[in-house]
């Protein structure tokens, strides 16, 4: 298991897990839509862009295509 932080909250996921899985595990939306709706991953395979989040300071990263690593800092919303 590895630990990363989603909006400051420590989340534990299995090694090899995607960041999108960690965000869902945290129970928070990955992004807010242009009219203010909360959204989470839809396709899980890098198509829909709903899982975009800020990963280690890099904005708009497709979290379903990024492997979670120890100590990673994720910001959503």
């Amino acid at each position: 298991m590895i630990t990363l932080r989603v909006n400051g909250q420590a989340i534990r996921v299995p090694a090899g897990a995607s960041v999108a899985a960690a965000i869902l595990q945290a129970g928070v939306p990955s992004r807010t839509s242009v009219t203010g709706e909360p959204r989470t991953a839809l396709c899980g395979m890098g198509i829909c862009e709903e899982c975009r989040a800020t990963i280690n300071g890099k904005r708009h990263a497709r979290s379903c295509q990024r492997i979670a690593t120890e100590g990673m800092e994720i910001l959503t919303g």
Binding site: A20, P38, L42, Q65
Partner: protein
């Protein structure tokens, strides 16, 4: 300028992996790229050398994986194609930066995605694709004890339900929009594909506790900022089911964007290829779901053909098998054709375009896809119509065939780079 790659393959699922192994050998330079973090595509997502037995086509996967590692194929994951800066050159971007890959032969194996159809509540957190939820579970999401409704259409639904049940989810039911009569006709054709029949039985036996209903679909998802329940229409009767996740996808559509950008002829909804998997554009081959949604075996077989042909070998011994799989793909399309009722699920306030939050009310005043883009921004967001495009095809009969670079959101630096290949070509022409 760096030398062109002999064979460049886009997409490292079963088709791309099979193509790479078949194309490798002697001193040929083969590069296999994929936008996901690892090879395997969707069906073999997150496989390792130790767990290949848990996947469909386990033997083929184990064999391909071993052979791929013993070849000199260069596998580059987390790499996306952004555009075509010059003829026979693809611009790619990864986490570190961007670069251009010139090629002699190109094999496109970009696979398929789920068709998503809008209904009230479909943008709520907790509503996901069927394959989408499965992909996330394969990628580490714990679903233990969660109540899941599986809905939509296609052979993927029972497979997803089985996989979720195996991860200790509580699958409440599988709701397939196709009518029973269509599926019965389809089941009869499976006699010609005993392997697929057995696979179907295995999935079904893994989820016997969950009912499989035909002529059934989700009409509405309920919840305040998060999914709480869904209303399903089962043979015309409405029922509400409390659930944590809705896994909903309506069969698959091919990822045609790159093929379209490169000018490959599309017949109806698939890329046109000849017996050797060659597209209408010289030096470009297509394999797998791009030529017909047929699943693992078809992709595998077509990838091998494309790889062999690009390596200058004959693939004629595989034609019969490929043709059988192609027939199966057409039968799938017929069996799981979308019923018109699904076009009526979205109400005027339901968002059609999730990127730009465009409701049906705004979109349906337009006459075509282009007009909708210009007037409402439908399809203009980051996914570039990959989700709402197929939806508007079904809802309004529009064709979404306009593809422009960049194919996906890309860094400005990636777009601003001059094409090294094009420049060096120009210099050599000038000095001639």
């Amino acid at each position: 300028m760096t030398e062109p790659v002999d064979i460049l393959i886009v997409g490292a699922g079963p088709a791309g992996m099979a193509a790479a192994v078949a194309a490798s050998g002697s001193s040929r330079h083969v590069i296999l790229i994929d936008d996901n973090a690892a090879a395997g595509g969707q069906v073999w997502r997150n496989f390792t050398a130790q767990n290949t037995r848990d996947y469909p086509g386990a033997k083929a996967l184990a064999d391909l994986n071993t052979r791929l590692r013993n070849t000199n194929v260069e596998v580059r994951c987390a790499t996306r194609v952004v555009g075509q800066p010059a003829a026979n050159v693809l611009r790619v971007e990864d986490d570190q930066g961007a670069g251009d890959l010139a090629y002699r032969h190109l094999i496109l194996a970009t696979g398929a995605r789920e068709r998503f159809l809008p209904f009230p509540g479909w943008t709520l957190p907790g509503v996901m694709g069927a394959g989408g939820l499965q992909a996330l579970v394969k990628s580490g999401l714990s679903i233990q004890g969660k109540r899941v409704v599986v809905a939509g259409s296609g052979p993927l639904l029972p497979a997803v339900a089985a996989s979720l049940a195996k991860h200790s989810a509580h699958v409440l039911g599988i709701f397939e929009q196709a009518p029973l009569a269509c599926l019965m006709r389809f089941a009869l054709t499976l006699a010609a594909h005993p392997g697929k029949f057995l696979e179907g039985l295995r999935y079904r036996s893994a989820t016997l506790a969950a009912p499989y209903r035909t002529s059934s679909w989700v009409t509405r998802a309920h919840g305040n900022h998060r999914l709480q329940s869904v209303t399903v229409s089962v043979n015309g009767a409405q029922r509400e089911l409390a659930c944590d996740y809705l896994a909903c996808g309506f069969h698959l559509v091919p990822n045609l964007e790159l093929s379209r950008l490169l000018g490959c002829t599309i017949d109806n909804i698939y890329v046109r290829v000849d017996a050797n998997q060659k597209s209408s554009v010289p030096h470009i081959y297509c394999a797998g779901e791009l030529t017909g949604i047929g699943g693992l075996e078809k992709a595998f077989c077509e990838g091998e053909i494309a790889g062999l042909v690009c390596a200058g070998k004959s693939a004629a011994h595989l034609f019969d098998r490929r043709n059988r799989h192609a027939r199966f793909a057409r039968q799938l399309d017929t069996a799981f054709a979308m019923r018109r009722d699904l076009a009526q699920l979205a109400d005027p306030d339901t968002l059609i375009c999730r990127c730009e939050d465009v409701p049906r009310r705004a979109v349906e005043t337009c006459h075509n896809w282009r007009e909708a883009k210009l007037h409402t921004r439908c399809g203009m967001g980051p996914c570039q119509g990959r989700v709402c495009g197929p939806a508007t095809e079904l809802l309004f009969g529009w064709t979404n065939d306009s593809v422009r670079p960049p194919l996906t959101p890309a860094r400005v630096r990636t777009l601003a780079n001059a094409c090294a290949a094009a420049q060096s070509r120009k210099i050599s022409e000038d000095s001639r």
